[in-house]
């Protein structure tokens, strides 16, 4: 169970971590060599009027000393004002939300099915561990997981989209969107390949953790006891083994669900999917600082929140884990 004082301290740490994270990203981004003008605008035109550059610096407050900029930034995010993108001139928060919704279209179904498939297969494999089918599945999963995700993506595009032509080569919608509007079926047709790929990849990761956890649980004394008192195998599996083996999965899935927010840079790059991952690399290459700060703020918020949630969840699910028991 949770000790109230410990919980408060954990929330304090999380707040501190968030503050540290925001500070680090702010200073790194602002001290980074090159800015929006030199990295992007000057590549478009060799001569920029001096007044325009000065106005740009003034408009975004970049002419002020760095500590002052930092104070303004902190005050702004505390008030929910995440700034304006240099490139688009739009408020950062709605922009991120728009791209995020596109990332969610592929990541949400992929993560949910991946977690489900991985957990079920892992539980089955761990329960049957040592058998031929278990070993075959285990080896397939290890090999699948060891190959980089972006390489799978390239191969998938090559085989399924280029040679077999079952799926489009990339993008999120056909050109017909210009005349007949957005068609959900068309988006789904573009999304199937990335969703399938990410789901299998996530499933392979969860499979490994679930299988190990199941094997560890089967070796426990209470399983031997349950068998010794004459419970039939199904009751042992459902009532004793599965419930305990699922405990580590709670932590893992919390992180995976929080990780959805970051998008998947590799999959989005290969499939040209206009999600948050592509937005990040684009913003980084043209030094769109407010946009980057917004994205990292959201990432930090989600990761820190997930860590706290996972700890609380674990201590509720397993009363033996007293949160912060040792100190």
């Amino acid at each position: 169970m949770i000790d109230g004082q410990y919980l408060l301290r954990r929330i304090g740490y999380s707040g501190a971590a968030f503050f540290v994270c925001v500070t680090i990203t702010f200073f790194i981004l602002h001290l980074m060599p090159g800015d929006y003008i030199t990295n992007y605008l000057l590549s478009l035109s060799n001569t920029l009027p001096k007044e325009a550059v000065e106005q740009f610096y003034q408009q975004y407050g970049l002419d002020r000393p760095l500590p002052e900029q930092y104070m303004i930034y902190i005050l702004n995010i505390l008030q929910g004002n995440w700034g304006y993108s240099y490139q688009y001139g739009l408020p950062v928060f709605p922009m991120i939300m728009e791209k995020l919704s596109w990332s969610l279209v592929i990541l949400l179904p992929a993560t949910v099915t991946g977690i489900l498939i991985g957990t079920v297969l892992g539980a089955w494999s761990g329960w049957k561990s040592g058998g031929k089918k278990d070993l075959a599945l285990f080896n397939i999963m290890i090999v699948f997981r060891a190959i980089p995700e972006f390489w799978w993506a390239i191969m998938a595009v090559w085989i399924f989209a280029f040679y077999l032509q079952w799926f489009p080569l990339g993008g999120f919608t056909s050109i017909s969107v210009l005349t007949s509007g957005m068609d959900p079926w068309d988006v789904l047709y573009h999304a199937i390949l990335p969703i399938g790929l990410m789901a299998s990849f996530i499933a392979a990761g969860n499979y490994y953790v679930m299988r190990n956890s199941m094997i560890a649980v089967i070796g426990e004394d209470y399983i031997t006891t349950a068998r010794a008192k004459g419970l039939d195998e199904r009751a042992v599996l459902w009532r004793h083994a599965l419930k305990n083996a699922l405990l580590p999965m709670a932590t893992m899935t919390t992180f995976q669900i929080a990780g959805i927010i970051m998008g998947n840079v590799f999959i989005e790059t290969v499939f040209s999917w206009p999600g948050i991952g592509l937005l990040t690399t684009e913003a980084l290459s043209i030094r769109d600082l407010p946009l980057l700060e917004g994205i990292f703020l959201l990432d930090a918020l989600m990761t820190i929140g997930a860590m706290l949630t996972a700890d609380i969840l674990a201590s509720y699910l397993d009363p033996r884990i007293r949160m912060g028991g040792h100190d």
């Binding site: 740490y13 968030f18 972006f150 560890a216 070796g219 970051m262 840079v265 980057l292």
Partner: protein, 273 residues
């Protein structure tokens, strides 16, 4: 039995990669950036895998790319494991005030998302191979210190350590002769799995183009071929060699990692005959 064969096989594959990287100047007919002939040549005619869009020899790039890829894969893993083993052992063994302060700092550092931070830092430090390896190593060790500290703490309270203390053994002797050897299984497994992780992550970072694009490694080779449409032009000899090279070493490291884990943690492998 199978796990020993698998382990030997993966070690053999790794040795082959290292040999290729070490003998790169003798194996490769050209240097990685040398323009050697007409662009986009098919294999043959002195170019084992043909040439890329500016006429560089793909085979030579592959061989020299092995050096870069192995440096950031193993270099960052070595750094990360070295930092976490040293710090974890010292913190776990001595405990006290320093341990408490470092643990609080780690508490604050732990929830910071690593991957976005890595991307930003990579862009910040004029990204070369060495800088990225150091960054990945240092960031990775934040989690590693925790991993090593816990067993080091429990080891330093075991009867054999107390016994060594009672007969007047020095701290250095106890740590190097009694604690470190018992930590070796964890450290080795962590090193192998981190190498695979960092290697794939580094190749990925270079694939999405966040590195110095002048450095030729397998990730930038794949990125280059992919961006110039090697797949849709049917130029498989351009994109497949670096991809297969990455897949090969990643598989070898993964198999080595799992085999080691089974050897050191018999419970996972107890049902595997």
């Amino acid at each position: 039995m199978t796990r020993n064969i698998l382990l030997l096989l993966s070690v053999a594959i790794l040795c082959m990669y290292f040999a290729i990287a070490a003998c790169a100047p003798f194996i490769a007919p050209y240097t990685a950036s040398e323009i050697t002939g007409a662009p986009l040549q098919p294999p043959g005619n002195g170019h084992l895998f043909g040439t890329n869009q500016v006429g560089q020899d793909i085979f030579s790039q592959l061989v020299y790319g092995a050096q870069i890829t192995l440096v950031f894969g193993f270099g960052s893993a070595l750094l990360s494991v070295a930092i976490s083993t040293w710090a974890g052992t010292v913190l776990g063994y001595y405990g006290g005030r320093v341990d408490e302060v470092v643990c609080r700092i780690l508490d604050v550092m732990m929830p910071i998302p690593t991957f976005p931070l890595l991307i930003v830092l990579t862009a910040f430090f004029n990204p070369g191979v060495i800088q990225v390896s150091i960054l990945m190593g240092v960031l990775g060790s934040i989690h590693g210190i925790r991993l090593i500290r816990a067993p080091a703490l429990s080891l330093s309270q075991t009867p054999f350590v107390e016994g060594a203390k009672s007969i007047g053994a020095s701290d250095f002797h106890i740590i190097s002769r009694h604690i470190l050897p018992n930590l070796m299984p964890i450290v080795t497994t962590k090193f192998v799995s981190s190498s695979q992780h960092y290697l794939v992550m580094g190749v990925g970072l270079s694939f999405i183009g966040l590195w110095d694009t002048m450095t030729v490694d397998w990730g930038s080779m794949i990125q280059n071929a992919y961006a110039y449409g090697a797949l849709s032009l049917g130029l498989w000899w351009w994109i497949l060699p670096p991809g297969i090279a990455v897949v090969g070493i990643s598989l070898a490291l993964a198999l080595a990692g799992y085999s080691l884990e089974e050897i050191f943690n018999p419970r996972v492998g107890v049902n595997r005959i």
